[in-house]
């Protein structure tokens, strides 16, 4: 490597997301990466590390505290600016929308940092997508359980076969223009009240 490796600090309360970012940075050849999950004690970490780039999630209410550190204690020798190229508004907007912010030591060549920021943004987005998929999968599983229970109740109370119970739920949902899970939920609730 012709240039000295950049020192990167990742501050993210979400440990899983932080490790995804860290892995991405290492894959890209950055070896001097430090990850912290808590902002307490960050002053000392910054003082010892002297990071060139700080990546922080913007849902972290301690961002204001970080900026105060940069501004008042002057523990970082060079001023720190958010993002390198303010003219590149498209990628900045993408970053803010993804929920990530970065502080970069002033004077650093933007080509050296752009790939790091791009990586952080895409990993943040990938993480949210994973979370969404996980949440969807979870609610699908929950829905299946409720439908199973509603089917069981109908089979028992009305003497239906499994196919008939399922068909009844589906037909009722269609008639009432509702989702099958909503009908199933009403059946379960009603049964709970009546039995």
């Amino acid at each position: 490597m012709t240039q000295p490796d950049l020192t990167i600090l990742v501050i993210d309360e979400n440990a899983i997301r932080a490790s995804i970012i860290e892995e991405g940075l290492r894959e890209a050849g950055h070896l001097r990466v430090t990850v912290i999950h808590e902002v307490s004690g960050v002053a000392r970490v910054i003082e010892t590390l002297e990071p060139d780039v700080i990546i922080i999630d913007i849902e972290n209410p301690n961002r204001d505290m970080m900026e105060h550190l940069f501004q008042l204690t002057r523990m970082v020798s060079r001023p720190i600016a958010m993002f390198v190229d303010r003219a590149d508004t498209a990628s900045i907007e993408q970053a803010v929308e993804a929920g990530v912010s970065a502080y970069v030591v002033d004077g650093l060549k933007k080509e050296r940092v752009k790939s790091i920021l791009d990586m952080a943004v895409s990993r943040f987005n990938a993480f949210s997508r994973l979370q969404r998929e996980l949440a969807d999968a979870k609610s699908a599983l929950e829905a299946r359980k409720v439908i199973e229970r509603a089917k069981g109740i109908l089979m028992k109370m009305r003497g239906l076969s499994e196919e008939e119970a399922f068909a009844l739920l589906r037909q009722t949902a269609m008639n009432e223009k509702k989702k099958m899970i909503e009908i199933a939920q009403s059946v379960v609730t009603a049964a709970g009240l009546l039995m």
Partner: protein, 424 residues
Amino acid sequence: MTFLESDAGSTLSAPALVGEDGPRVFRAGFIPLVDASVLIAAAEFGFAAREGLAIDLVKDVSWANIRDRLAFRQFDIAHMLSPMPVASMLGLGSNPSPTIAPFSLGRGGNAITLSIRLFARMQETGLLGPQEDALANARALAAVLKSLRERGEAVPTFGVTYPFSSHHYEMRYWLAAGGIDPDRDVKLVVVPPPLTSDALAAGAIDGFCVGAPWNMVASARGVGRIVAAKQDIWPSAPEKVLGLRPDFAEKHREHVLRLLVALDAAARWCDDRANHTALAEVLAEPRYLSTPAELLRHVLSGEFGLDDQGNRRMIPDYIGFHAGHANYPRPSQALWIYSQMIRWGQTSFSHAGLDAVLSAYRPDLYRAALGDQAPDTTQDLRAEGMEADDGFMDGHVFNPADIPAYVAAFPVRADTGLSFDDES
């Protein structure tokens, strides 16, 4: 590198709806504080709708986010600390981006709270009289700090909310008025407002200056003692403002002026005690402040629980939303903020700086929308702290025509801001 779908990871989509006639929906960022009331009331009680507008309120977690989301167009308008547009125009702090304030969202609401333990030590000094007295409290704290220093004990840590905040300057003003050097005798840190009471309870900080309702939250929990309110420091001190990008204001001028009309009506409504119950109930909702309505009613009425021992204090104008030209962005206020930035070494005095500061406050927009309500222009650069009921706690008077002399007259100030080199 290709980006994954850009809507991921954020609940915010594109910025406000921009139709043929420009935006009618303003996306507004706010921090959960009582002084966001005017924006919330404008959205909730029909004042925006009456002007053919809608305000889409988005709660945020940090002032840095508010600043960045406004700069990067996720917000059209924002609830901002009054020093934020001033700092932005001076190019101070991270990511300074042009920001203007055409309307103040009110004044008051701040207070300083210390830990019960620290207050007990202040009582031991015998310097506290029977009356609640912010200056006596500061002097008693100075005596406690002196004895801490002599015994080689650690200095206390105080929290403020943002480097460019009224709270930061008020905390420093109060300390300095008592003869305390904020950079030597104590340690100042930034703590997000909703965490202040927990941080105090946990002993992570020994005091803080923050807006409503967080002082009362700490006193009601019995972890803190309120020792000064904004009214004690300087009643007229500017608090929050409506912030927006100058290019946005220019491009959508008519809608922005209508917004100011809506906010003016909302502010008037918020000031009326008859509406405080309705306002408190809306503010209490989880999507806004998520704080008990009863506590918010006390805040709005200025009925102060100083601690959990039943010590109370009435401050009738603890929070003001409209009366006394509270919404007029008076340039002398921006200049006073500048003077405090210089006093504490955040910047130095220059004529270029003066111009930048004056460009942050936009009384011209206020006048264009609400001309008949605006005070006389001769008041724009008035001396502050002259009126009997509006003095500074240390008796100084701010003369905007001579900021260097005003700053130099303070016995306690940072050394660094005093190089009054004028480049222009």
